[in-house]
Every structure is written in structure tokens, then in C-alpha cells.
């Protein structure tokens, strides 16, 4: 009844149970945080715009992204993954999401930022539909916790339009 093995087993069981409970509570506590992030994106320049031999349009943009995501951070936040996607509709596709830029924010101090960049990933359409196309720029974020449930949300910014001609 009071052997070494029995006591070790009981200790291990209690330790694992408490650890699991603490992880669950830490994850649940994220729900009490109601974030108020803000973001602004400007398209500063169209670097070039062309049609490939295979018939797909590709465009290169210079962007200015500024955002304040500090309110997303809680004590259970390991990092925030943030990315900017161009979203538009074409006759063939009901939704196109093309990631243009992304970044990892490791700490709250770095969550208020602005960046001047050309698109990190290629902005290629499936087909040739980008001339004069209206599109949304959406800033998405994924909150990666130290443990538990992951959260994601976005800010949609509309009213962007690509040029009528290749250049």
C-alpha cells in the first residue's frame, strides 16, 4: 500500500493532472482578452505588371503597411503570425487569396510596426484577370499560444484597384 512504486505513481498522476489543468486554464484565459487591433496599408507603387507566356498575369507592388497589434498579446501568447493577402474574385474563381507579405511578431514590443516593402511572395493570377481589377487587402493574424487553442482574425481593407495596362 505504501510502497515506493505506489507513491511514485500517485505523485506522477497528481503532477500530470495539475499540469493539464493549468494548461487548460491558461488557454481558457485567452477568451477574456478582447483585442482592438488597427491596420493601414497603402499601395505606393506598381513596380511592373506583365502577362507570362503561360497566360497568367503577374504584378509587383510596393506596399506600406502599418499596424498596431499589441492588444492581441496575452500572457499565453508565444507569437503572432501576421500576413497581408490580396483577395479578389474572377470569372473562374470565386475567391483568390494571394499572400503578399508575412511576418512573425515574437513579442508585444514589436507589435506596433510599419514596414515599407515590395511583395515578398509573387502575385500571380490563375489566368489573365488582373487588369483594372478591384481587390481587397486583408491583414490576417494567427495568434499562436504557449499552449492551447489558436486564434485567428483579420481586418479587411477594400477599395484598391490595379492599373488598366501592363507596364
Amino acid at each position: 500500500m505504501h510502497s515506493f512504486g505506489y507513491r511514485a505513481n500517485a505523485l506522477l498522476t497528481v503532477a500530470v493532472t495539475i499540469l493539464a489543468l493549468m494548461c487548460a486554464i491558461a488557454s481558457l484565459s485567452d477568451n477574456f482578452n478582447s483585442p482592438t487591433p488597427s491596420a493601414q496599408v497603402q499601395v505606393l507603387n506598381i513596380n511592373w505588371f506583365q502577362k507570362h507566356q503561360d497566360g497568367n498575369d503577374e504584378i509587383s507592388l510596393t506596399l506600406n503597411i502599418s499596424a498596431n497589434l499589441q492588444s492581441l498579446f496575452t500572457w499565453n501568447t508565444k507569437q503572432v503570425f501576421v500576413f497581408l493577402a490580396a483577395e479578389y474574385e474572377t470569372p473562374m474563381n470565386s475567391l483568390n487569396q494571394v499572400s503578399l507579405w508575412d511576418g512573425i511578431i515574437p513579442a508585444k514590443e514589436h507589435a506596433k510596426f510599419w514596414i515599407h516593402t515590395s511583395n515578398k511572395y509573387r502575385f500571380i493570377d490563375q489566368g489573365s484577370n488582373l487588369r483594372g481589377k478591384d481587390f481587397n487587402l486583408t491583414l490576417h493574424w494567427h495568434v499562436m499560444p504557449k499552449t492551447g487553442k489558436m486564434f485567428a482574425d483579420k481586418i479587411v481593407m477594400s477599395g484598391y484597384r490595379l492599373p488598366q495596362d501592363y507596364r
Partner: protein, 180 residues
């Protein structure tokens, strides 16, 4: 003489009872583990509800040895989600983030491109030869939850099988010798 015979009989019967009850309790442990696993499969709708991260391609978000909980709902796949996918000709599933989505107007089929957060380029090099996009059927689930370090147990056991055998042997010995 009758007394000795009775004692021997009682010892024998006790041993048989002990062996039986040990076998039953061992069976209970195995079946309850199986029940939990299958129940998770039903709830999450994913073939493997829990996966262990094996590579560092999603660092610093997911490190080697972390555990991910998967969910496979009917919701459409969107950019930014972390999905687990199988590539034809590769046995081990990959956990990476979706960076591009093209969803068809008529059929609702999706073309998806993925990338590891810690990798420089996208995943086209990992896909089968000539494959440009992932389709719905490649994707096993999306990651919804995260638990650090726990997966090291399975990594150690698969990479150092000796430890697995020692552990199984010790547990078996414990079950046989226990007098409860």
C-alpha cells in the same frame, strides 16, 4: 493429508484468479486507450486527430516534439490556416501554413499553396514532381490547438527503440509482480 491438499488447491485457485484479473485490467487499459483515440477521430473528423511535429520548418511557432490537435470540418480552406497534408509519394504528413488559395467558381474545388514559416521558399519543391497546387483530398486536417513538448515521448520511442522495449518490459514486469 487433506489439509495440505486443500492449501495447495487454494493457492492454485488464487493464482488463477490473480492472473485473470491482471489480464482483465490490462485489457481495460488497452481498450480504454483505443476508445479515447477512436472517439477523438469521430469528434474531430480527422484520420489522425493528434500529430507530432517532426521538423523545425514551422519554428518558432511549432518546434520539434510539439503536439498539434487537428480538426477536419467542411469549412473551406483559407489562407493563413495551418494544415496537415499528404503528398503523393511521401509517407510522412507535413504541417505547413496556407499562403495562397484559389477557389473555383463552379465546383468549389480549391488550389492551395503552402509554406513553412521557417522555410525560405514555398512548398512546390516538396510536392510531387510537376505538382503546383494541393487539392482538398491532400489535406488531412487543420491545426486548431497546440501542446508543447509532449510529443518528445513518441519521437524518442521511434528513434531509440531500445528505450521502448525497456519501458514495455518494465511495465510488464510491474503488472506481473504487482500483488494488488
Amino acid at each position: 493429508m487433506g489439509f495440505i491438499g486443500e492449501t495447495i488447491d487454494s493457492i492454485k485457485s488464487i493464482q488463477i484468479r490473480q492472473v485473470l484479473s491482471q489480464a482483465v485490467s490490462l485489457g481495460m487499459i488497452v481498450t480504454s486507450a483505443l476508445i479515447i483515440w477512436k472517439a477523438l477521430m469521430c469528434i474531430t473528423g480527422s484520420e489522425s486527430p493528434v500529430v507530432v511535429v517532426l521538423s523545425g520548418s514551422m519554428e518558432p511557432g511549432f518546434k520539434r516534439g510539439d503536439i498539434l490537435f487537428l480538426h477536419m470540418s467542411k469549412d473551406p480552406i483559407r489562407a493563413g490556416e495551418i494544415v496537415v497534408f499528404n503528398v503523393d509519394g511521401r509517407e510522412i504528413p507535413i504541417v505547413h501554413r496556407v499562403i495562397k488559395v484559389h477557389e473555383r467558381q463552379d465546383t468549389g474545388e480549391v488550389d492551395v499553396l503552402t509554406k513553412g514559416d521557417n522555410n525560405y521558399g514555398d512548398d512546390r519543391l516538396l510536392y510531387a514532381q510537376g505538382q503546383l497546387w494541393l487539392q482538398r483530398h491532400h489535406i488531412m486536417g487543420r491545426a486548431v490547438g497546440f501542446l508543447p513538448y509532449v510529443g518528445w515521448v513518441t519521437i524518442i520511442m521511434t528513434e531509440k527503440p531500445i528505450i521502448k522495449y525497456i519501458l514495455i518490459g518494465a511495465l510488464g514486469l510491474l503488472v506481473i509482480t504487482s500483488k494488488d
